[in-house]
Amino acid sequence: MATTLGWITLALPLAGFLILALWPGEPSKRVSAAVGCGSILGGFGCAAAIFLGLLGDSPEERTHVSRLWTWIDLGDLRVDAAIQIDQLSVLMMLVITGVGFLIHLYSAEYMAGSRGYRRFYAEMNFFVFSMLLLVEAANVLFLIIGWALVGLASYLLIGFDHDRPAAVAAAKKAFVVNVVGDIGMVLAAVLLIRELGTLDYGAVFAAAPAGLGQGTGVAEAVALLLFVGAAAKSAQVPFHTWLPDAMEGPTPVSALIHAATMVTAGVYLVVRMHVLYQLAPIAADTVAVVGAITLFMAATIAIVQVDIKRVLAWSTVSQIGYMIMGAGLGVYGGAMFHFLEHAFFKALLFLGVGIVIHALAGEQSLDRMGGLSRHLRFAYVTVAIGCLAIAGFPGLSGFFSKDAILSGALADGALGKTLWVVGTLTAGLTALYMFRMLFRAFWGPEPAGGYAHPPHPSGPLMAVPVAVLAVLSVVGGWIEVPGAWHGIDDWLHPVFADSVGAALVASGTDELITGICSSVLCIAGIAAAWWLFARDPSRRLRLAGVARPARGVLEEGYRFDEAYDEILVNSTRDVGDVLRRRVEPAGVQGLVTATVAGMRESAKGLQKAQSGLLRTYAFMIVLGLALVGVVLALAIH
């Protein structure tokens, strides 16, 4: 039952995509929106039904695998076209289809002015299908297929405005970086086949402790290669550079793909492969450290960004850093909890900011905003809720989920405690940069030159999803309250039953310390933002000269792009130049020229043989026969 619904969940967005893509002529916007939203709503209904169905099963029997046919049958290796429904994948499916539906609904109004309305919905449905395939896959091969397809969908949607060079360049960048990650995944899969001879999750996890061994080189290699894929998809250092550029895509795309779902695939991967990471302590620590570096670095960069969507993009990188850090440390429940809440409040923030951008006819610079709270009260309230949630204000969703990760880290050893310090400090930074954005956009005076476009409030199609997400951002955190109940942990617990090591359990003291520290830092961050940007708007301009070089570094995101250009792009281009100027004329082109010349010359010679004299031809045949006879005679004797 659960798996049948799982297949239907997968099929609906695919059907929506095919219908929209193959619709003859240009369907009306009403049809496009109805098909696009309807398929996702249907998917959400199925996912919810699966969830309710699983509630009826006993906790240990909630994993269902369904196989349609055998995809690959090679000697000992067999890979099926199969899906796996369990607590983890259902959680992901609910978020993908639920938040996905809200964003689809929002897009109906947001994209109304766009020419590629049908294309937008077709590609969004394709993305949802790919993402569902990613999380429903029952083996590593189908995981990789979904993984690559979401990369493709991301590419298509970032470059949705394909007449803008910046969008096309950003799409290409995202695709290239993601393919680097894909290569890591494929290599990991090959290693798994070589060592374990299977790609099915259950079989891999069962065989891994004996087949790979604890802490062996192979185990570390598999885990690290998988993490290359996870880091590329989840925009972790050093593969993070594509995500801020991906904001060239339409805002709903940023909300769905580059905030709520796709970029968290790396977290899902690490959590799904937890057995492998438990066998590879070095790789797991690497994951945690990379997450910590990313979350801190992205937060510092977010403080100085002027483009409002880039602030959100860097905050996404930072928040995923939290999840990755938690997953690396073994706080799987906390990581998935933060994923869930992050989907709520980050989608809320993007959609709320989308209202602003829509109202200002595409203006994204904070310098051209200010005082918007008077014009866009609904957007102001909802974005403020989102900011409070992401900053971890006590009682809102981000408070519970971030603290779940941090208190787990505090329960860990020395590494965990170090990362706890980084994460907790960054919680303060988070409050600072989010409220900087809020104050600069909605408070203070109107910009000097006036707005780019007179702001107008949004319609109901945009308001309803934002309102729903705002409510979820407020109450969503209460499914897991420290010391009282642990909804997510309890739900996911059976998934981690095959864990090799002991689970990381935060004590009441850890949770209390974390809660107090992060609350204090959150409020301190908000206060600092208020003092810097709201109390006296001119203070910001007076302080503009302070620490100029350091801010320059931050504004350019620690100059990763420049370094990549310098090291990878330019050196490759130099090699290409040398090859083109020196090697190619004599080598490849020379070969072609020589071949052509040789053909022409030999044809000139052979032309003479074509005399048109029938009897000469007959003679040639006789001569040939005689020669063949001689050759045969020589060959036989």
Binding site: Q610, G612, L613, L614, R615
Partner: protein, 102 residues
């Protein structure tokens, strides 16, 4: 030792074929050329029917009969061409018919 061994038939076949071949190489008159081709086909038929006898199997004879049909078709078309060339008031010399060489 009253019958004729296969090699004799094959020898006869080969010599007939070579005679035809020489004719093709030497003659310029398309009519004579066609006659020489008939001679070659006959040589081949002797070999076919000789082997048919050797293996006691009628396939070779069937093949030879098909060859005769092909020969008939070839003669019909060949002679049609000769007549067409003749009506163009051209010389009957295969060396002159070389315009198709390209």
């Amino acid at each position: 030792m009253s019958g004729v061994p296969l090699v004799y038939y094959l020898g006869l076949s080969g010599i007939l074929f070579l005679l035809g071949l020489l004719g093709v190489m030497v003659r310029r008159n398309p009519l004579l050329l066609l006659l020489a081709v008939e001679l070659m086909l006959n040589g081949a038929n002797v070999a076919l029917i000789g082997f048919s006898r050797h293996w006691n199997n009628s396939d070779g004879q069937i093949f030879a009969l098909v060859v005769m049909v092909v020969a008939a078709a070839e003669v019909v078309v060949g002679l049609g061409l000769v007549v067409a060339v003749f009506r163009q008031r051209l010389e009957l010399d295969v060396d002159q018919m070389s315009r198709l060489k390209g």
